[in-house]
């Protein structure tokens, strides 16, 4: 691959010839594929790493679902392979169940979804969509990935500790997490790496989006994908540091004997904690377990918007190009996503209603939680109305993108009884909560991620993915994923609690055990279905139909690169933008789309 030296000056508009070598040696393997500063390579690195962890995190849950469906039964085939801290004679241990549960959440949120939505899609697509040659800080970008990967390694390695990995939930509430085994310390260290990676990335995204847009690309001509990434970056930038602070404090508690989160007088197994031995070496007291919760949720609530916003961005692009008409309500989409970003910082304590909250604080947080549902509804409605008057092409990405809409609606609507304190009394910490947030991230965000992969795969690889396999992947996934999560609302209403190793131990949950079995089988079948995707992904790399530059006939700039797959520098010359991002079916034009950079 020749190094394309694009000495284009902004606004010059004329192409330089390529293919002539300016005397630079071709980059070696390491600097081209491993320590690359090119946003596309880094995007792919993030994407592949994240997909591996998405699969791993999913497998953790598949193992847990066996124990949930058939408590006390040895896990078939792989039961014997699990380490001693996780399973005994093939039967999952309670410690193992909790460990897998905590790591499932952690891996899915921090090692899979955010790196996919932001690290992979954001990195690869954003500079292309704004007509830039790379991110504003390419080396910082590389540093961001190389801070992410050690974080992943630390998290993964913690599975092999004698005491197992973290097992106090992804939420790591103290005092439980303070007195937990060493896996928790590794979790905290892993988090520090991951948070650093996010912070470096978010600075890059914001500067790039504001400063590096092609001429003519005003903020209100940006594709909604870019707006979503911009708001997401602000959330990452400002919300993660309090969790970093909290992680430092918990590390101090665990390692240096402080007691930020430990009140005095704790009694473990009839002994006052000052006298206990083990990991915990005694402490001074005076701390507050709720302090951790405030610091954690101050991040973790904006974090869930970090999970959904890139997905909304991806879905918007896929919908626009497959409806062959402009998105409805572009301005309301933009203002809603900005408002959503602001509001996400002031709702965090709705995760803490049951901690002993009084009326005044609960009214504040209920009100903000009700208010934040507004912009989400606006965005969903705008995307729905975008279907009106369309000419919908049911390509594989479009199948996933349209399915996203009702799935996200279910997720959002089921947040309503959780967002009000009185109804939350019954539903807090039950399967209802699990159903609610999974509908948003699983048939929500993950479907959007699939839509994005099917949509941009032709640009990244130059080949089309197989349509038949794609459609089969979609329909089966849609069926099974609803089979996994829909029963949870009924389980939750019956009072079945989450994080329960043996669901038959509690009478009120016994009666909905059948629903749990249905969830488990649906999950295993969902897992099998993903093989279709994995097969398609790798097979198409070699044998997919050649895609050409713009197989979807889309208008946005990423489809106007000089080469497909794009090379270093991206564009023959910096494009100039003459119109908005969704000029489809414009009256008076021969083609049913007018690319953004096409001359007026």
């Amino acid at each position: 691959m020749s190094t394309s030296a694009a000495h284009a000056h902004p606004g010059s508009g004329h192409a330089h010839g390529h293919g002539h070598d300016h005397g630079h040696p071709a980059p070696g393997f390491w600097s081209h594929y491993v320590f690359s500063t090119d946003h596309k390579t880094i995007g792919i690195q993030y994407g592949l790493t994240a997909l591996v962890f998405l699969f791993l995190g999913f497998c953790l849950m598949l193992v847990m679902r066996w124990q949930l469906a058939y408590p006390g039964q040895p896990i078939p085939v792989i039961g014997g392979w699990l380490p001693k801290s996780i399973a005994d004679a093939g039967i999952l241990l309670p410690e193992g169940y909790n460990a897998f549960g905590a790591m499932h959440g952690t891996i899915m949120v921090f090692l899979a979804i955010v790196p996919l939505g932001v690290g992979a899609f954001g990195n690869y697509i954003l500079p292309l969509m704004i007509g830039a040659q790379d991110m504003a800080f390419p080396r910082l970008n590389m540093a961001s990935y190389w801070s992410f990967l050690p974080g992943c390694v630390v998290m993964f390695a913690s599975f092999f500790l004698p005491g197992g990995p973290a097992q106090s939930g992804w939420t790591s509430y103290p005092p439980l997490s303070n007195i937990a085994t060493s896996g928790q310390t590794w979790w905290l260290l892993g988090m520090v790496f991951l948070i650093t990676s996010s912070l470096l990335g978010s600075v890059n995204f914001i500067v790039t989006t504001i400063h590096m847009r092609a001429p003519g690309l005003t903020m209100f001509r940006l594709p909604f994908f870019v707006w979503a990434q911009l708001v997401t970056s602000f959330l990452l930038l400002l919300a993660f540091p309090p969790l970093e602070a909290a992680a430092v404090l918990q590390l101090m508690d665990r390692v240096a004997g402080t007691s930020f989160f430990m009140p005095e007088g704790l009694i473990i197994s009839t002994k006052l904690l000052t006298e206990s031995a083990g990991v915990f070496q005694g402490y001074s007291g005076g701390g507050s377990p709720l302090l951790w919760q405030h610091l954690f949720w101050f991040l973790a609530h904006p974090e869930v918007y970090v999970l959904i916003l890139p997905a909304m961005g991806i879905v918007s692009e896929v919908i626009a190009s497959n409806t062959r008409k402009p998105l409805w309500g572009y301005k309301s989409l933009v203002f809603s996503v900005i408002f959503l970003g602001f509001m996400s910082f002031v709702v965090w304590a709705h995760h803490m209603y049951m901690t002993g909250m009084g009326q005044a604080i609960s009214i504040f947080f209920q009100a903000t939680t009700m208010i934040i549902s507004g912009p989400s509804v606006v965005i969903l409605t705008a995307l729905l109305i975008s279907l009106w008057g369309a000419s919908i092409r049911y390509t594989v990405p479009m199948l996933f993108a349209t399915a996203f809409l009702p799935m996200f609606a279910i997720g959002g609507l089921t947040g309503l009884p959780l967002g009000l304190t009185a109804s939350d009394i019954h539903l807090h910490d039950t399967y209802y909560v699990i159903g609610h947030f999974h509908y948003v991230v699983a048939p929500g965000t993950i479907f959007a991620v699939f839509a994005g992969i099917y949509h941009w795969y032709p640009k990244v690889t130059g080949r089309m993915m197989n349509q038949f396999l794609g459609k089969a992947h979609f329909w089966l996934s849609f069926l099974f994923i609803n089979g996994v999560f829909m029963p949870m609302f009924w389980s939750g209403m019956a009072g079945a609690l989450r994080r329960q190793y043996d669901p038959l131990m509690q009478l009120h949950a016994e009666t909905v055990q059948g629903l749990g079995v249905m969830t488990s089988w649906s999950a295993w079948l969902l897992g099998l279905t993903q093989l279709l995707f994995i097969l398609n992904f790798f097979w198409s790399l070699k044998a997919g139909a050649p895609a050409g530059e713009n197989p979807w006939h889309a208008t946005t700039l990423e489809w106007a690169t000089e080469y497909t797959p794009p090379r270093h520098g991206n564009f023959a010359a910096v494009p100039t933008v003459h119109r908005g991002p969704y000029e489809y079916s414009v009256p008076g034009h021969a083609a049913d789309f007018v690319p953004q950079h096409e001359h007026a």
Partner: protein, 321 residues
């Protein structure tokens, strides 16, 4: 209320204020259904009507969206009504409207890894002093039975006994990590945070007998029933006798022996119910055995409650049942 207490949407409501929680949940779900069906109809219509086909063109013009604005405003108004008309008043009842001290039962509920212990103040109505240094395996709450006169009539028990129609005021705390005091049937849930003591209150309106009667089933005497007996104590709901000899009384705990005797007598099913149909469980992950952390709650009639108290000797006693 007819039907089984558990497994049909939400559990039986067994508390006086629980009905308000249920009402709110109900209203919200109807609202959710209306919105979803409304959106859904529009959605499916568009998917079909505007699918790409020969001779069909997308239209560049955007539909004027007055409907969506009205819908948005409607949603906002409804949510405000839910908050102000329902959630706030119910929360007030739960947090600021305790039963009067002269007509309520007092009990402290203390969570630990992995059990609940209940501290009753006894006839004098005052809780004896507790001291963490007095905690032993047989005095889990460290009640100063020896030196505090007020503690002499206190009772510490792993079972929660309350009376029907009498409000109970529960002071919830924890010895070690965060737990959560949760009784599904009473619509009560409160985190037990170490270093804090938070009160909850409720008034049971159904007693355990009613629960058992409603939950009773005819169980086939098979392996599955045996497995269930390993997890839960089952009681017989009727008298079984053969040839003049009583195999099991109504209300008697079913043991393996009784099962064998029933089988020998030719019976294939037994009408049984869980001895403790109402339980206090833990709703916040508290460690490996979090799933096992539960305590029976017995809603007694006056007579049953007095009988329970009498079972314990007059000495300050620990109920190790």
């Amino acid at each position: 209320m007819t039907g089984a207490p558990y497994g049909r949407w939400s559990p039986w409501n067994a508390a006086a204020d629980g009905v308000q929680v249920d009402q709110l949940i109900s209203i919200i779900h109807w609202f959710m259904l209306v919105l979803f069906v409304g959106w859904g109809i529009f959605f499916v219509y568009c998917l079909l009507r505007f699918r790409s086909r020969a001779g069909h063109q997308a239209s560049y013009a955007l539909p004027a969206g007055k409907m969506s604005k009205y819908a948005e405003i409607g949603v906002a108004i409804f949510e405000t009504v839910l908050l102000v008309g329902f959630s706030i008043p119910v929360w007030w009842r739960y947090k600021y409207d305790p039963p009067k001290p002269d007509r309520r039962q007092e009990v402290r509920a203390v969570g630990e890894q992995f059990a609940w212990n209940f501290h009753y103040p006894g006839p004098d109505g005052k809780f004896g002093r507790t001291d963490p240094h007095l905690i032993t395996a047989s005095n889990l709450l460290g009640v100063d039975f020896d030196n505090d006169p007020v503690a002499k009539d206190d009772v510490v028990s792993p079972t929660m006994h309350v009376r029907k129609e009498l409000p109970v005021y529960v002071r919830i705390s924890s010895k070690d990590v965060i737990h959560s005091f949760y009784i599904p049937a009473m619509r009560v849930k409160q985190d037990a945070v170490p270093g804090m003591e938070v009160p909850v209150w409720f008034t049971p309106i159904r007693d355990s007998d009613e629960f058992r009667a409603a939950i009773a089933k005819d169980y086939p005497l098979n392996e599955r029933f045996k497995e269930k007996m390993l997890r839960t104590t089952m009681v017989s709901m009727q008298k079984y006798e053969k040839g003049g000899e009583t195999i099991a009384e109504s209300g008697q705990v079913i043991s393996d022996e009784i099962v064998e005797k029933l089988k020998t007598a030719g019976t294939t099913t037994v009408r049984a119910a869980e001895q403790d149909p109402i339980q206090v469980v833990c709703a916040q992950l508290c460690g490996a055995n979090h799933f096992k952390m539960k305590a029976p709650m017995s809603v007694d009639t006056e007579a049953q409650y007095e009988a329970w108290l009498k079972e314990l000797t007059t000495e300050p006693q620990l109920d190790l049942e």
